[in-house]
Subunit: 366 residues, 2 copies
């Protein structure tokens, strides 16, 4: 695809290791091919294992807060983290007004690098990958928190994340029925259509109240950009698990405060969730449990059948890191990537200018 600059035949040893200047790139097209070749549910399940492994290693991670650049119309963020072996970051924007212009609200890409030498190992689209990791993370949390034997999930908000959530809970928790509701019936119809033939019994509902009937798990993933009350207190019976995905930035929440006060709350990274999650409605010292401590067994998850558990998910850099690490491992032996000539590799590191001159000479002699 790309061609490397021609080198003189007598390359001085040691010289750069062959191909070290080339960075594998996973395009949107190749990401879709890879996911379809493996199968969506299998990707979600395998990815969940990487995410859970990394949560288990939580203290090893360098957890930098995301670096945000705000403007009047949106935000651009960099989310870096490292486990000491790999370094990863995600670029992600959020521009709610983009949909009016036929553009995506969120686009994302990411890079995985070697901590040992600082070289990028992988560049990937991350819009699809983020949708997958968000659903896989929800299912990881629910594996530890949802009531045993849960079979029915209510899904309030039927946007881009909906089908991924449904399939992750089917594959990993044995959910066999989903009850869909969205303020836009078109979104519900889209999700119902997409979930046909997946083995899930799909019920389209006309209200949130109808959607939660008989459900043991409630997933909220609406896209409202303001404080909203997708779930009111009377909709949430005892013993439920709530998987709250949509509250993910300051000023954006989905649940009535009273629900939070009745729930045991589990979060990814408290300093971030207190700003971005549902718990921004609560006092700063309201007790929450970190998910990683449930996964390691340091803290209890669900302890009683009548308990309401709430996973207040905002998405964290380690989940993107896990996704990039999974992708890096899974790419091996496939053709689902291209190689980008992204890193300069002069034969003699100090001779960058000489490399430039030789490229000029080479192109003149073409």
């Amino acid at each position: 695809m790309t061609s490397t600059p021609s080198k003189p035949a007598s390359q001085t040893p040691p010289g750069p290791p062959e191909g070290s200047n080339l960075v594998p790139f996973v395009s949107v097209d190749n990401m879709m091919k890879l996911v379809n070749a493996i199968g969506v549910e299998r990707v979600l399940t395998e990815l969940a294992d990487y995410i859970e492994d990394d949560f288990r290693r939580w203290p090893h991670f360098d957890k930098t807060p995301r670096v945000a650049s705000h403007s009047k119309v949106g935000v651009i963020e960099l989310m870096p983290t490292s486990d000491g072996e790999y370094y990863g970051f995600k670029y992600v924007n959020g521009h709610p007004k983009n949909t009016r212009e036929g553009l995506q609200t969120v686009t994302a890409f990411g890079v995985l690098s070697s901590v040992e030498n600082g070289y990028p190992l992988l560049l990937s689209e991350m819009t699809i990958l983020t949708a997958l990791r968000t659903a896989a993370t929800s299912a990881v949390a629910a594996r530890h928190l949802a009531p045993k034997g849960a079979r029915t999930m209510a899904m309030i908000g039927n946007g881009a994340q909906c089908e991924f959530q449904a399939l992750a809970f089917k594959a990993m928790l044995g959910i066999d029925a989903v009850r869909l509701y969205d303020t836009d019936p078109g979104a519900t119809a889209k999700a119902a259509r997409n979930l046909q033939g997946t083995g899930l019994a799909v019920t389209s509902c006309t209200s949130g109240e109808e959607a939660v009937e008989g459900a043991q798990i409630i997933t909220t993933c609406t896209a409202d950009k303001q404080y909203a009350t997708i779930l009111t207190d009377n909709m949430v019976g005892s013993g439920l698990h709530i998987n709250a995905i949509g509250g993910d930035c300051p000023g954006k929440t989905e649940l009535h405060r009273d629900i939070l006060l009745r729930s045991d709350i589990f979060v990814e990274y408290p300093p971030q969730t207190r700003i971005e999650g549902e718990i921004q409605q609560l006092d700063d010292d309201h007790p929450v449990t970190e998910l990683w401590q449930v996964i390691t067994g340091d803290t209890a998850g669900r302890t009683a059948p009548e308990q309401i558990t709430l996973f207040d998910s905002v998405g964290f850099a380690t989940e993107d890191f896990s996704a990039l690490r999974y992708l890096h491992d899974r790419l091996r032996g496939t053709g689902f990537f291209e190689e980008l000539d992204m890193l300069a590799d002069p034969d003699e590191p100090r001779d960058l200018y000489g490399m430039l001159m030789r490229a000029s000479a080479a192109s003149r002699s073409d």
Copy 2:
């Protein structure tokens, strides 16, 4: 180069603007072709104008400190900034031990995005581009600080940055003679060879003392990773301009402290330079002048012939931003880029899963 996933013929309006999912990518190969097509000296001069324009707009910039991830063997950094219209960041690593393995100490790439919609506009290699912007920045500073009529520059440290500095000072300040010195004679020989035929009179010297003889400008760009004394006090006569490039991280300096005490010191961004630059040797409140204020005319640059001016340069995110902005403008109408299918663009933003399913169906029908 890349193929976009096939779309159904009846795309629902408004739909994503044509090609908005494609991100122009400038490989190392294309960067060299672009620079050679324009000419190195012209690139340096044009780039210097972008850098100077952005220094002039300094208060407009969102100046985030770089986000560093340190390990025992090196560092990986993200350097973001924005002027409210564009957003840019550079990824750069620093691994001194890499050269022993035939790898680069530093690799870099960067992204320029639209603040308006958050979409990346450009992905580029930045090893060559950083070398160019560093030299152009030095020349911008010298344009305001060096003694009038300077013709001879001493260059101590003849590594990857050397030739770019020499050509920037030739093109922008009228330097016609350079005096080279490096502790490794092989580096000096390399730089002298590369500068043949550029119109510069090149003198290879066997000591720093010899190199500074008759020079009006001294550029230090050594790669020592520790406190070093490349210039001692007695080597610096009155009236000189010192362009100190190599002191660029904590614990790495090039100049004897006494030189700093005799100089008027100009820096890019004091909070960063006090940590990384030559002035880490001085008290935290030692007076320094910000280069942008000299460029806008708010503060005087050189005020007397006998004054020693010192540009204590560590490299700042706005310079990378200027370089990406220049590249973005300069790419137009050239073929020196590829287009990467990096951003998912489902026809209906909420139907990411449907896009994935249709890709699967399309590949089965291939």
